[in-house]
Symmetry: C2
């Protein structure tokens, strides 16, 4: 596919359930889709694997991705969507608490920082940057303390990046999406018998993000934290 | 000094300007004061140095402090006050951005997590745990992104720890103090000519924390983020 004449997207976390669904959706809509993840997603038009730098610092990962994307220069992306992340439960007495803090920090914050740093070089002016927060982290999370504090950091990052002089390209629109539970094959496997009518379908998110990238008049203000609330199979958004 | 018959405090960050002022204040009020920092504060009754584990993981630091505090067992602390922390400016394009994220995470969040983990073992029931947030992080911080997101994480940690089933001892009261600029010798040296009438005096904070530890009726609710706002040399508190 020729990226010159298409809308171009970069998905961070392209091998996850949501990332993979986004690649499928946007390819079918005629987008050129690059992806970054720990392993290559061969469905993507331009897969970048971090596998070779698995033990690398975040700084080295940013350097590697920047370098690979130079092959597309001077083309830039219309959207960079970070949907990498992870969850861990446990309170401060949990024997894995500090290990989980480190894991949540890396899975949720490092991926967001990677997206933000890549955006400074490779997002087009007026482009869209999406990070993934968590609805539950809008309030205290005593049963999943590590997860909550990392996601609260991501929410603050969204607000800071959306402010003047944050260092992102002129006119960047930045959003946080705040899901609760996504309707993924893995969640269906891990939580049999759960009420999947409260889980957010991946195609709802794909369609929503497309409206933002294509400047739909209903696009929220830059800096919005957009909760995804699903009841009885119907998903609505709530802006924070 | 005999710790048995005194109120007992543990100061995390005892060598910093605020930590050192707290040691002086509470000693003069008859408290037994232990301290933790990268180097020993010899003023403290029970100094614990992390110097020997400077390259250690947070988990190893927690283990070391827990082990040293076993010498005081079965005595527990009436208060654990974490006033370690640091500041760094810069937006996402700053060449030191990712290094500063790591530094802010360690200086502000690791010290808070150390305090919380130590509290699970060594804080008395109904005791006070204080972490240090930042007034500026209540709103976006595009000019100091790393600092803001780390402090936002600390604020969320305060809220989670104050909730039921967080893992802290029964009846723990937890507060975040949210200063803007502290009136320290170093700040006076680094910012000559600044309006020091907007800087918060260290003795105001010491007196305020004492009222909380001694269960003054004006003590805010557990989970409060308490901003310290100083104008014309007068400091007031604002609860968030």
């Amino acid at each position: 596919m020729n990226p010159d004449n298409s809308r171009r997207l970069l998905i961070i976390g392209g091998r996850g359930a949501l990332g993979s669904a986004l690649i499928d959706h946007f390819k079918s809509e005629g987008y050129f889709v690059a992806s970054v993840d720990r392993g290559q997603n061969s469905k993507s038009h331009f897969p970048i694997s971090l596998e070779e730098v698995a033990s690398a610092t975040l700084e080295q990962q940013v350097h590697l991705v920047n370098e690979k994307l130079e092959k597309l220069a001077p083309l830039k992306f219309h959207g960079i969507l970070c949907v990498a992340g992870g969850w861990a439960g446990g309170n401060v007495k949990d024997s894995n608490f500090l290990a989980n803090v480190d894991l949540m920090w890396k899975q949720n914050m490092h991926s967001s920082l990677l997206a933000a740093c890549i955006a400074t070089n490779h997002l087009a002016e007026g482009g869209v940057l999406v990070l993934t927060g968590a609805y539950l982290a809008l309030t205290p999370t005593p049963g999943m303390i590590a997860y909550g504090l990392a996601k609260a950091g991501v929410h603050h990052l969204v607000k800071s990046l959306a402010s003047e002089e944050s260092g992102l390209p002129e006119g960047t629109k930045i959003f946080g999406i705040l899901p609760i539970t996504l309707d993924t094959p893995n969640n269906r496997k891990c939580m049999p018998g759960a009420d999947t009518g409260t889980w957010t379908p991946l195609n709802f998110i794909a369609s929503l993000l497309q409206t933002w990238i294509e400047n739909d008049p209903a696009t929220p203000l830059s800096g919005s934290l957009v909760s995804l609330l699903t009841h009885d199979g119907n998903t609505t958004t709530q802006i924070n």
